[in-house]
């Protein structure tokens, strides 16, 4: 969800910039003005690596997260394990049941350096871990002859599988360390007893992991408190107790002094819940329930709609159903929280003719990236995806500026998300990763002025609207100036006047009469 927010916000900002902005800027370049021309720039030594070379504790956290029960796909792309190699740098690997890598994501800046030019898809998990460790070494994140800590956390639905995977990886790491003469302490953090206690406590009282953790931490600080009693209290009641007893919670909670105690507690619990591993997926509502909830919210009945998707998905630690259906020429996209059935998000779009995703066929394999891969797969590759998208849009490949080209496993279909920009229009494409077919295409340009000529209001009308907005009587106003301006398909009246010792200015939209940029200042 966070990613969607970021993407959407990013797009929204982009849409607000006028198309002719650059030409406006160009016109204002004063070519007669002296400007500083090039002074040879020295390439500075990259500070980042320097910092890591000096750090003593090269902490490597390996987190293996298991399947989220009853998962999605029955082919090789089924997610079985998610491995996080974390913190300095942070890499997340998704692997399938056969311990083959489906995808490797760089989560922070350092990790991007590590994963640069490496395509780990389809490789065996241990090969991938080796490659990552090797890259970390090469880039200076693991230093020889310096004591480091390697933290391995395994979370998996299937405990036995978790242990197996973890043992494999640990052996792997130890091998690499030995050959590279790095001494490291491997810390085993799978299902620590503390986590188990928290989980049991949470289950016993039917509260969330976050709340359980907070209560247990709190009781450790004040032994007069009884965790079992607290478990049933609301956050407000608990925060009252914290305040009355004057317990300092700033060391168990990421404390924000601008928020109240209760707010801090609530946020902490929320954070912990988001981070908490999925222990079990029991107690979730059924797919049918989720569909029903979505329909209710959309005020439609089953017979009105055609369902296109109903799947379990995980985002930010929240398990939800991704429900999609079509009705009345519109496409509905719902996210329904899997335990309580709450509608997390809802999206309605005009239905675009989708291209059916053909069944994955065995096509000739092309390397994903330029660098060689250990194993071959049948994806068409990013470049081909870009070409297909550009062709479909009728845009010359060389004219297109590609903003984003990413492989995605969202929605159970392997595809590339290709976003590009050409001639003032922003295109979003989804290209099937196996067949190259166009799955989705969208284009957004700035709204052009409408075809039918719209009626403009008169200057007089604009003036009176402006005066009205300022609360000024026509007879009191003087030095009135009214100018018409055309900008980006919009027509504005720029109105200025003085009255009562003030100077006013504003814009009036010539079609809607809407006032904008109202200003009032002392008349000096």
């Amino acid at each position: 969800m966070d990613n969607k927010i970021k993407t959407a916000l990013n797009r929204a900002y982009g849409l607000m910039i006028p198309n002719n902005m650059y030409s406006r800027i160009e016109q204002n370049i004063d070519r007669t003005q002296e400007r500083t021309m090039i002074i040879p720039m020295k390439k500075k030594f990259n500070n980042k690596n320097l910092k890591n070379v000096l750090s003593v504790a090269a902490a490597l956290v390996l987190v293996v997260v298991g399947a989220f029960g009853g998962v999605y796909y029955s082919n090789n792309l089924a997610v079985d394990s998610i491995i996080d190699i974390d913190i300095n740098p942070s890499v997340e690997i998704t692997a399938n049941k056969q311990d083959r890598v489906i995808d490797a994501l760089a989560i922070n800046e350092d990790a991007k350096v590590i994963l640069k030019d490496m395509d780990l898809k389809g490789t065996d998990l241990d090969v991938a871990v080796n490659a990552i460790l090797g890259s970390m070494l090469k880039n200076g994140y693991l230093k020889k002859d310096i004591d480091g800590e390697i933290l391995v956390t395994v979370k998996n639905d299937n405990e036995e599988k978790a242990t197996n995977v973890k043992t494999k990886i640990l052996n792997n790491i130890e091998e690499v360390l030995k050959t590279e003469h790095i001494s490291a302490t491997v810390i085993n953090q799978s299902a620590s007893s503390e986590t188990k206690d928290t989980e049991e406590f949470a289950k016993k009282h039917n509260i969330s992991i976050g709340k359980a953790q907070f209560i247990l931490n709190l009781c450790k600080k004040d032994s007069s408190l009884n965790p079992d009693e607290l478990a049933n209290k609301s956050i407000i009641e608990i925060s009252k107790i914290v305040k009355d007893k004057k317990i300092d919670i700033s060391d168990i909670v990421d404390y924000d002094y601008s928020d109240s105690v209760g707010e801090n507690i609530a946020e902490d619990i929320e954070d912990k819940n988001e981070e908490a591993p999925l222990v079990s997926i029991k107690g979730k509502i059924s797919k049918e329930d989720a569909r029903r909830i979505a329909l209710e919210d959309a005020k439609l009945s089953k017979s009105d709609v055609k369902f296109t998707k109903a799947e379990l998905d995980l985002d930010d630690g929240v398990l939800f159903y991704d429900i999609e259906f079509r009705a009345n020429g519109k496409e509905y996209d719902y996210e329904i929280e899997a335990y309580k059935g709450k509608v997390i998000s809802k999206d309605v779009d005009i239905d675009e003719k989708p291209v059916v995703n053909p069944a994955p066929s065995v096509s000739s394999s092309e390397p994903e990236t330029a660098s060689s891969k250990p194993a071959s797969n049948s994806y068409i590759g990013k470049n081909k995806a870009k070409q297909n998208a550009a062709n479909h849009a009728g845009v010359k490949y060389s004219n297109a500026r590609f903003e984003r080209v990413e492989f995605s496993l969202d929605d159970g279909v392997a595809h590339y998300e290709v976003d590009f920009y050409a001639d003032g229009v922003e295109y979003d494409y989804e290209v099937d990763a196996i067949s190259g077919a166009i799955l989705k295409s969208e284009s957004e340009g700035k709204k052009q002025s409408t075809v039918e000529p719209k009626k403009e209001i008169s200057r007089e009308k604009a003036k009176s609207l402006a005066l009205k907005h300022a609360g000024v009587n026509e007879k009191d106003a003087f030095a009135i100036s009214i100018e018409k301006d055309r900008d980006d398909g919009r027509v504005l009246y720029e109105i200025e006047f003085k009255a009562g010792g003030y100077e006013y200015s504003c814009n009036v939209d010539a079609y809607s009469g809407k006032i904008s940029d109202f200003e009032k200042e002392f008349d000096d």
Binding site: N10, Y13, Y22, I29, R35, I39, D254, I344, S345, K446
Partner: protein, 189 residues
């Protein structure tokens, strides 16, 4: 110690990642260098500026002033961290100056709020809601931080430096902003 950052991958940055070479090209007077720079950087500059000025026309002015400043001073640029941070520092100064000017003028009942911004050109409902949320539900600094994180390609450390704010604050404000936006989305559906 270590900072546990986002659990999500960041948007691939090929669009707006400007490099030293791009600035150098401008300074060398290479053809189209400024235009190429503009294509890569305009969203970051505009978004950041808008988050501060809360006024579209001012943001456009800031965008223009910043691009021109880059054009005129490219030769002075010394490689130090990301060029985008340099560009945005310039933008920040212009934006703050504009914002202060507006504040001085609007010292009466007109408060500078989101109502001054017209988002109607954004067709996509979710996008429009989100950006509205950013301007109604978030504090100024929360909005600037989440905007930077979304459009500029700067990491948290760089954002903290740009905004002259402690890294920890930036992190918690960012997460708070995300939560508020989610709540805003849920509330308006």
């Amino acid at each position: 110690m270590f900072i546990v950052l986002l659990t999500l991958e960041e948007i691939s940055k090929t669009a707006y990642e400007i490099e030293d070479l791009d600035i150098e090209a401008i300074a060398l007077g290479k053809q189209n260098a400024l235009h190429d720079f503009y294509i890569k950087a305009h969203k970051s500059i505009y978004g950041f500026a808008l988050s501060i000025t809360k006024n579209k026309f001012d943001a456009e002015d800031v965008l223009q002033e910043t691009v021109l400043a880059v054009y005129n001073n490219a030769g002075n640029y010394k490689s130090h961290g990301k060029p985008m941070a340099w560009v945005l520092t310039i933008a920040k100064n212009f934006a703050l100056a504009k914002f202060r000017d507006e504040k001085k003028q609007a010292s009466f009942s007109e408060s500078i709020g989101y109502k001054d911004i017209d988002f109607s050109e954004i067709d996509n409902i979710q996008q429009r809601l989100l950006i509205e949320g950013a301007f109604t539900a978030l504090q100024d600094d929360e909005r600037s931080i989440i905007t930077l994180k979304t459009v500029s390609g700067l990491n948290f450390r760089e954002i903290a430096e740009l905004l002259e704010s402690p890294l920890g604050s930036v992190l918690s404000k960012y997460h708070r902003a995300l939560k508020k936006l989610k709540k805003y989305l849920e509330g308006s559906i």
